[in-house]
Structures are given as C-alpha cells and as structure tokens.
C-alpha cells in the first residue's frame, strides 16, 4: 500500500505544483501573491467544460480555448485591478487585497450566472487506471503529471534565461526605472499575466476533470499557495518541491494518522520550515542595506 500512497501523493502534488508555479511566476516577477489565481483556474475549468460539453469541441481545441480564455481573463484582471494599484505606488500587499476581492467577485459571478450546480466533464478519459503491480495509477494523473513537468521546464527557461525574464524582473523591482530603460512595462506585465492565467487555466481543466467543476473549485489553490511559500516565494523549483512534498505528506497523514490532523501537520511543518529558513526552502532574500 505504501507505493499506492506514494502514487496518490505525487498525483495530488503535481496538481498543486501546476498551480504553485503560477503563484511563483507572478511572485517572482511582480512580488505579490495572486490570491485570485485559483479562481482563474476555476473559470478555466468552466470554459473547458463549456467547450467540451456544450459546444462539443474536440478535447484539444477545448483545452487550448480554455487556456486562452483563462489567460485573457487574467490579463483583463490585471488591467482592471492591479495596474492602477501599481501606478499608485501602493504597497504590494494592496495587490493581494485586490486579488482577494477579485477572487470573491469571480466566485460569486459564476455563482449568480451559472449557479452552484456541479458540472462533470464528459468522460474523455475513462475513470480506469493503469495497474502496475497492484498499484493503480490514474490515466489523468499521468497526463497531468507530464503536463506539469513540461510546462514547468518551459517556465524556468523563460524566467532565468531570456531577456523577457530580465525585463519583467526589472519592471517588478522599479517600474519607473524599467521604463527609463526602454522597457514597455505594461506590455511585459500583461504577458506575464497571460502566461500565468493560461497556466491557471490548464490546472483548472485538470482539476475540473478530476474533481468536477463548481464555483469554489479555486479554493483548492490555497494549498498550492502554501506549497509555493514552503518552497520559497518566487522560486519555481521551490514551488515544485514544496507541492510534491505537501502532496505526499497530506496523503500519508490522512492515510495513516488522521485526516482531521492533516492540515495541522501541514501548517506546523510550514511554520517550522519558515522559522528555520525564513524565506522557504529555495527563497532568496536580498537584505535591505542601511
């Protein structure tokens, strides 16, 4: 059974990872935790559902459209809410508060327009699992795990190895100076949101296929957020390690200790890690010089 639990843990962890990298992306580039990330994923899940179930598009077309849709929503939310806050030079915490407002608004918008009914994706993939020596691996899990790996490698490359990454980091640190260097700050930030939004959309579709679609689906992202803090805010590899770690730990605690105490373990461990490493496992801290 231990192997089964490890598979379970990795599968939960890879969904967390896909979301956590979205947080890491926005954090590393813009320095704030995008609380609405999960809700954008939720909208992505609805979009995918709509394209597949109502418009009967092939699954790949639906997936692409859902990604674009979520990306677009993310860009719009940046235009509407975050851009103004950045221009006001408000503390970055304000971005997070706005994101929280956005999160409530998105959830409830879906609630009043679509309703609270649970939607189930038509079974594109059979519920069936592949059995390997008594261990069952879900087909969907396998696909989402591979998806996560690919996406994450691309991301890492983008941030660390390209001019794009540099430009956005500069814009994040000081928009005025970045624009004085010839960087079209608004364009780059929109691009980041497009990317993060699509990533959210992708995880949303996976989540939706796995756990059905409903307005509060995005709340799932809290754990992903914690994973990204655990791994060090803004660090993509950290987010992945954090996510897999939390996924595994949850599964083992729920399976062998008590589901009721599961979150207690997660949070206690989180605090413990932060006390020892105040910026998470892989986070970096550039001290304020006197």
């Amino acid at each position: 059974m231990i192997w089964q639990q490890i598979v379970n843990g990795i599968s939960v962890g890879s969904i967390y990872a896909l979301m956590a990298t979205g947080y890491a992306l926005i954090y590393s580039l813009l320095g704030f935790s995008n609380w609405a990330h999960g809700d954008i994923a939720m909208v992505g899940a609805y979009l995918g559902f709509f394209f597949v179930a109502s418009l009967h598009l092939p699954w790949w077309a639906a997936l692409i459209l859902a990604l674009l849709g979520a990306g677009l929503l993310s860009v719009i939310s940046e235009r509407v809410a975050y851009r103004k806050i950045r221009k006001n030079n408000s503390p970055t915490m304000f971005l997070m508060i706005a994101a929280m407002g956005l999160s409530v608004a998105l959830q409830n918008f879906v609630l009043v327009t679509i309703g609270s009914k649970f939607k189930t994706y038509p079974q594109i993939l059979p519920v069936k699992a592949i059995e390997i020596g008594g261990v069952y691996v879900g087909l969907l899990d396998l696909i989402s795990f591979l998806g996560a790996v690919i996406v994450i490698i691309i991301l890492y490359y983008l941030i660390e190895r390209t001019k794009f990454g540099l430009a956005v980091k500069a814009a994040a640190a000081n928009m005025q100076v970045a624009s004085l260097l010839g960087i079209n700050v608004d364009k780059y930030i929109s691009l980041v949101f497009l990317l993060a939004g699509s990533l959210a959309g992708l995880s949303g579709v996976f989540l939706g296929m796995k756990y059905t679609v409903y307005p509060q689906l995005g709340n799932f992202a809290l754990k992903a957020f914690i994973a990204s803090v655990f791994g060090g805010l803004g660090s993509v590899p950290g987010a992945i390690v954090g996510a897999l770690f939390i996924g595994l730990m949850e599964v083992f605690v729920a399976g062998y200790v008590s589901a009721g105490l599961r979150d207690l373990f997660t949070f206690t461990l989180l605090v413990a890690v932060l006390v020892i490493r105040p910026t998470g496992l892989f986070g970096k801290d550039i001290q304020d010089k006197a």
Binding site: M1, Q4, G255
Partner: protein, 363 residues
C-alpha cells in the same frame, strides 16, 4: 418577497435554507415548493380564512448565517413559524434561538437527534422536524448490509466536519456490529478536500464487503469515482445526503450497485400532481426531495393551526407537538411529544443501469 403590510389577514411563514452555495439546489427547491404550496393553499381559501405568505432567506448552509436569517425572519418579518433548514449543523445552532424567541422551527431533512433534543437530553420545545432521524437511518443501512447484502465486513469513510456524517457513521457501525459484522477500516476526511484517495487506499487494503459513505452527493460522486479508480468494487451505502438527481450525472457508472436511504420521494405516485405542478411552475425544473418538505411543512402548519383554531406561535407549537396523524406527500406521521421526532418509514434506493431504482421501504 418582502412584507407589504403587517396585515392581520396574512399568516407569514419563513423559510431558511441554502439559497446559495454548494447545495443551493436543495434550498431553492424547498423554497420553490413552499411558494407553490402557499399558492395552492391560498387558492383553496387559505388557513382559517387568512392568506399564507412565504418569506425565504438565505442561510447559505452555514450555521451563523442560518441563525441570522432566522432572527431576521422572526423579529423583522414577524413570521409565525419557520421551516428549514435541511442541515443538522444549522438546526442545532438555530434550535436554542427558536426556544428563546418562542417561534416554532420545523426542520426539513436535518436528521441528527440533537436538532430537537439537546446534549443533555432536554427537549427544545420549539424545534420540530418532518424527516426521520439518523439512528433510524443508520439502523436501516446496517440491516440492509447484513441481511440483504450479506456483508460481514464494512469500511467507513466519514466527514469529521459534519454532525450528520459522524452521527450516521456511528449509528451504522453500532447496528452493524450488533448484527455480527466487523468494521475493518474506519477513516475520516473533510468535505471540500476533493481528494480521498489516501483514505480510500486504506479501505482498499482492508477489502471490506461494503463501504459506508455518509456524505453529501457531491463528495459521494468524488469518493465513488476515486474508489473505482483504485480498483475498489465493493458496493457503497449512504443516507439522505445522496438524494439528488445530480448524483447519477456526476458519478456515472461508479455508483452502480450502491444503495442509500432517504425519504419517500417523488418516486411515490401520490406525488405526481405536485410534481407536475412544480414542473409547470418552474420551467421544467426537476424538483429535489426538499420540495416535498416544503410542501408537507406548510400543510402540517395548516393542519396544526386548524386544529388549534387560533393563530399564535404558542398555539401552533402545542398543536404541532400533539400531532397524532398528519398525512403528507411523504407519508403519514405522528409526533413523539418527548423528542418531537416523527415516526416515519425510510425508503431504500439503488442504482442499476444508470437509473435510480426504488428498492423498498423500511420501518
């Protein structure tokens, strides 16, 4: 539906339920049912010559909001009585308030014993209910497992955050053990967790004959799918939390061959006219069982007021308590004055070929 005039000629009845949130389908069905029934009663001359007016407020399935809504119905809308909610957790919170405000509160599907009788065994004089209680439901399920399915071992997965789920799991276990069975794996989880595979893996390891899943339909669908994904084939058992047409849509083949107990439902032919009226009124919206509670609740109040011959909360309370026979769409009921629980049969349903099928009624 706000109050136009605090008229002497109007009897206001409140409804509290989850009009928004995850289980809004139930709350809305309850309110719709009441509104439809009020119309019917008014067309037939009202209660004691007075018109009935229904005021619904959203309790979001949350104890705090439900208490707020209840208070507001009583002190602002000046309702005579309140029907709702369908959740034990909400009604356990509202019961002391009902006693304090001295306004009768009739729970619908809330089935935990503590809805009408507090921790220490004292009756909440103003709390009533229409449905059966969990000890009974648990007993029916355990007997079903032992006698009909021949199960010797059972696994249990329950929601530690819910009175309903923990209670039902416990009552099931008690009876199942009494019947000579063993609970080989009992695991807990939280609604909203979405992923139950680690707990289900523990159950899978124990290879039980049946699995008790006393959850709300949404979680049941997830549990069922994930159990099948882990290669578990044992039939699953559940209570009235399963009672929604949504379950089949969501769980599909994963739920085949499983059983649950619930109230007599729209499967019963006597409900046909009401069913049709409902579909006509609400654009072919398929009613949930909660709509029957709305219907029976309002008629029960009518019945009690007519027996009392007087319109006051106190008179209503007394008359409800002394109900010896009330025939509603969900069957006939009598109230036990010591516990305010009605004695009512439970229906068992199963799933075959993607359809929900009535399996039998149990007393």
């Amino acid at each position: 539906a706000c109050a136009p005039k605090a008229d002497e000629d109007v009897i206001k009845i409140g409804y509290v339920g989850a009009l928004s949130g995850e289980t809004a389908v139930w709350g809305q069905a309850g309110l719709n049912g009441m509104l439809l029934t009020a119309k019917e009663i008014n067309e037939a001359g009202g209660i004691l010559g007075k018109k009935v007016e229904v005021v619904g407020l959203d309790g979001r399935g949350d104890p705090t909001d439900s208490v707020n809504a209840f208070r507001r119905l009583v002190t602002e809308e000046k309702v005579l009585a309140v029907i709702g909610t369908n959740f034990s957790s909400c009604n356990i919170a509202m019961a002391p308030i009902a006693d304090e405000l001295k306004v009768p509160l009739i729970a619908t599907a809330a089935s935990n014993p503590k809805v009408t009788v507090d921790e220490n065994g004292n009756l909440h004089p103003y709390s009533f209910r229409i449905g059966f209680i969990d000890p009974f439901q648990g007993q029916v399920l355990a007997n079903l497992a032992s006698n009909e399915l021949g199960a010797k071992t059972a696994g249990v997965i329950y929601d530690i955050g819910s009175d309903y789920s923990t209670g039902l799991a416990q009552y099931f276990e008690e009876q199942f053990v009494k019947n000579g069975g063993t609970v080989v794996a009992k695991v807990e989880a939280h609604s909203g967790d979405n992923d139950f595979r680690s707990q289900l893996s523990v159950i899978a390891e124990a290879k039980p004959d049946v699995i008790m899943v006393p959850w709300i339909y949404k979680d049941v669908a997830l549990i069922a799918n994930q159990a099948r994904e882990l290669g578990i084939t044992a039939p699953m058992l559940g209570g009235d939390g399963w009672d929604s047409p949504e379950l089949i849509t969501m769980a599909g083949p994963a739920i085949e061959g499983s059983f649950y107990t619930s109230q007599p439902s729209f499967a019963n032919p006597v409900t046909k006219p009401y069913y049709d009226a409902y579909m006509a009124e609400y654009d072919n919206l398929v009613p949930e069982t909660e709509a029957l509670f709305g219907h029976d609740g309002l008629y029960w109040i009518k019945d009690a007021l007519e027996r009392a011959g007087e319109v006051s909360p106190e008179a209503l309370r007394a008359a409800l308590e002394n109900t010896t026979q009330f025939d509603g769409l969900m069957g006939s009921m009598a109230v036990d004055p010591a516990t305010h629980n009605p004695a009512k049969p439970a229906s068992v349903y199963t799933f075959t070929n993607g359809e929900r099928v009535w399996y039998g009624d149990f007393k």
